[in-house]
């Protein structure tokens, strides 16, 4: 028992953080929201070079995986920096096809960042279906390679661009490993949400430290402090659930991590908005990139209520 990231894992997250800090992700997100994908594609390649997508791809297909712990640590960083794109869906796609015939054809490109994937249940929205190279459609009949997507609708998070996949396409498998892929999707979403919450907390703490009213920093008021303390507490107790879920990959642990991280990130978003006041309510101010992401991740791949039900089901 040693429930701590080891030095190698810390070095990995540190270098990913440095890469993303230098990448001006706020600009990349805004361009991505406008459908200008070039900077996002370039960033995607560098994230892949750092080895992130390969963590979900087995060694047989040019990956380093499966390594859920490192993946979770990486997704915390992706969330902290608000990286756009179908990050979770690419991981999920890798897991969906890693035991199937087309794995050899499709996985090396995912691991290397040459292609990005989206995944959706038939009839529901696929994230970034317009830009994804691989569009996977899940239906009771199996897993299909969808022929394309419909018109794009912006999400509440404008960087999440939604399309419905067209029906039909090549049948990849009649019985893909959906429960296993969903575990990875939820783990990655939870980790990303945790990162979003940490970034919101950090930015808000900085803001209330220099914003003055009544002649003093608003962060010296107890009402403000206590909201931020509660955000910190919620995030600090979500973190071990996310990492513990990555260690065990037990369905109840993963569902618990999804509930806890998404609730903590969302509560932190509400606090961040309230404590910034009107400036936080503007699209122009960068806080909005994380605020809207927290809302979206909460619903993605299992809302808190769905995941709570899964926690109970797993124990019966």
């Amino acid at each position: 028992m040693r429930f701590l990231p080891d030095p190698e894992q810390r070095a990995f997250t540190g270098s990913l953080d440095a890469l993303l800090t230098a990448a001006d992700t706020a600009r990349v997100v805004r361009e991505w929201s406008r459908g200008e994908h070039a900077s996002g594609r370039a960033l995607w390649s560098r994230i892949a070079e750092a080895g992130v997508f390969a963590l979900a791809v087995p060694e047989a297909y040019e990956g380093f995986g499966p390594r859920p712990v490192e993946l979770a640590l990486a997704f915390v960083e992706l969330g902290r920096h608000a990286v756009p794109g179908p990050l979770v869906e690419t991981v999920m796609a890798a897991v969906l096809i890693d035991e199937l015939g087309p794995a050899k054809r499709l996985l090396p490109a995912l691991a290397a960042g040459r292609s990005m994937a989206t995944v959706a249940h038939e009839g529901s929205y696929a994230l970034d279906g317009d830009v994804a190279d691989l569009r996977l459609s899940l239906s009771p009949g199996g897993l299909r390679l969808a022929p394309g997507g419909g018109p794009v609708r912006a999400g509440l998070d404008p960087a999440r661009r939604l399309t419905r996949l067209r029906p039909g396409g090549e049948l990849l498998a009649a019985g893909p490993p959906v429960p296993r892929a969903l575990l990875w999707a939820r783990l990655a979403t939870a980790a990303q949400a945790l990162g979003v919450g940490l970034a919101l907390l950090e930015r808000t703490v900085a803001y209330v430290g220099h914003r003055t009213q009544f002649g003093v920093p608003v962060g010296s008021f107890q009402a403000v402090k206590h909201r931020l303390a509660d955000a910190r507490i919620a995030l600090e107790f979500a973190r071990p659930l996310v990492l513990g879920a990555a260690v065990t990959m037990a369905p109840a642990d993963v569902a618990a991590a999804k509930v806890s991280a998404c609730e903590a990130a969302y509560a932190t978003a509400r606090t961040a908005l309230q404590l910034h006041g009107a400036i936080g309510y503007t699209a122009e101010y960068d806080l909005s990139l994380w605020l809207t992401r927290a809302r979206a991740l909460r619903s993605a791949w299992g809302s808190p209520d769905v995941c709570r039900a899964d926690v109970l089901d797993a124990l019966i």
């Binding site: 028992m1 040693r2 429930f3 701590l4 990231p5 080891d6 894992q9 712990v69 907390l201 703490v205 209330v208 430290g209 003093v216 920093p217 962060g219 010296s220 008021f221 107890q222 403000v224 402090k225 206590h226 931020l228 303390a229 509660d230 910190r232 507490i233 600090e236 107790f237 979500a238 973190r239 071990p240 659930l241 990492l243 513990g244 990555a246 260690v247 065990t248 109840a252 642990d253 618990a256 509930v259 806890s260 209520d305 709570r308 039900a309 926690v311 109970l312 124990l315 019966i316």
Partner: protein
């Protein structure tokens, strides 16, 4: 990152489980907050101690097994899973003992710890005063120098366990001229039946005398019952608070067992959908607290100091504990109302959690100022 237990740790866990399964009383003991229940819990401490289970993480020479922090956590999980009685000497074991191990003399440890381990001497705490609650450093009870020791005078209140306990520990003002309120305080131990001590039990919310007021009138404390240097009591009390209290005051085992019991209750009631989310949250919270503690213990064992992180912990478990018991009482409906019901009794106990050991408002101030770095302001 690794959550697997070594075979030796698993063997330790199995040994604890086997002993507890054989020895935990099948019917709950009478309430700890009655004379009869206090005596029964004291006898249980002696039984634990005789088998070496009362203070597993202490050094062996004082009655422990020197098993380390991780095995202490495993023991606690087994202890509460077995439905074993509450620990009547919790104040001594979790608060005074770490202070003595860190700041006491070898003579003090040898004299005080063994009878604490067996329950022969049960300890109460004497921190708060009528005018010094959250602002503990403003306390006014005095320790005045006399030949060979100190004379304590003043009033302490909300002294947990003092109605039936044997001895108490707390802070007293030994240097009224010190520049700052937290300077000039001395950490002492004294007998609750010593000459000059009057104990007036206070009924808590359900009327049971879970705490007491202490009136002290020139109570003599010999020098050997002063912990650390006179005048340095605040730093000593806070050092143990920061390092270990956050981990050892409430172990995850207690909440894992409570969440399990709530889950069982929910199922016995036919899994009502209206409570499903809250039951799930109870299970999730207990697992979060367990993993948080494993992470903190791993950092502690790797040589890191925990410091103000214990404030995160205290807010979390105290609010969690109330939420779980509220859910149980809601599930029970009118059956939950009788005051002697197990959930009702535990609910009353849980209600005090956000108040004692530093109110949750004080803990949030600590999180905001020391962990987040926000500026100090008026409280």
């Amino acid at each position: 990152m690794d959550l697997t237990l070594s075979p030796a740790d698993e063997a330790f866990r199995a040994e604890a489980r086997g002993w507890l399964r054989a020895r935990v009383p099948s019917a709950p003991l009478p309430s700890l907050e009655t004379a009869e229940g206090f005596a029964a819990h004291r006898a249980w401490e002696a039984e634990l101690a005789a088998a070496g289970w009362s203070v597993v993480d202490w050094p062996t020479r004082y009655g422990g097994r020197a098993c380390g922090l991780l095995r202490w956590l495993l023991f606690e999980e087994e202890y509460y899973a077995a439905g074993a009685p509450g620990r009547v000497n919790q104040n001594g074991i979790a608060l005074l003992a770490p202070t003595l191990l860190g700041h006491g003399t070898p003579e003090q440890r040898a004299r005080v710890l063994p009878p604490m381990a067996t329950g022969e001497v049960v300890w109460a705490q004497a921190w708060s005063e009528p005018e010094a609650g959250s602002d503990l450093a403003s306390l006014r009870s005095r320790a005045v120098r006399t030949d060979g020791g100190w004379l304590l005078s003043g009033q302490k209140t909300w002294s947990s366990r003092a109605a039936f306990a044997d001895r108490a520990f707390g802070l007293f003002r030994s240097d009224p001229a010190a520049e700052k309120p937290h300077q000039g305080l001395t950490y002492v131990m004294f007998g609750l039946r010593d000459p000059g001590v009057t104990v007036r039990p206070i009924g808590r919310l359900d009327g049971k005398p879970a705490f007491a007021e202490l009136f002290l009138d020139e109570v003599f404390v010999p020098d050997e019952d002063v912990i650390g240097e006179p005048g340095r009591g605040w730093a000593i009390a806070m050092a143990t608070a920061a390092d270990e209290r956050g981990l050892t005051l409430r172990s995850p085992g207690r909440f894992l067992a409570t969440a399990e019991r709530l889950h069982a209750l929910w199922r016995a009631r036919g899994c009502p959908a209206s409570s499903a989310g809250r039951v799930a949250d109870a299970l999730i919270g207990a697992r979060a607290y367990q993993l948080f503690t494993y992470a903190a213990a791993s950092r502690f064992l790797a040589g890191e100091r925990l410091g103000p992180e214990s404030s995160l912990n205290k807010v979390f478990w105290s609010e969690y504990d109330i939420a779980v018991h509220e859910t149980a009482l809601d599930l029970l409906g009118e059956e939950g109302e009788p005051a002697d019901g197990e959930w009702a009794q535990r609910y009353v106990f849980a209600l005090a959690g956000p108040i004692y050991a530093g109110t949750n408002e004080i803990q949030r101030d600590i999180v905001a100022e020391r962990l987040l770095g926000l500026p100090k302001g008026r409280r």
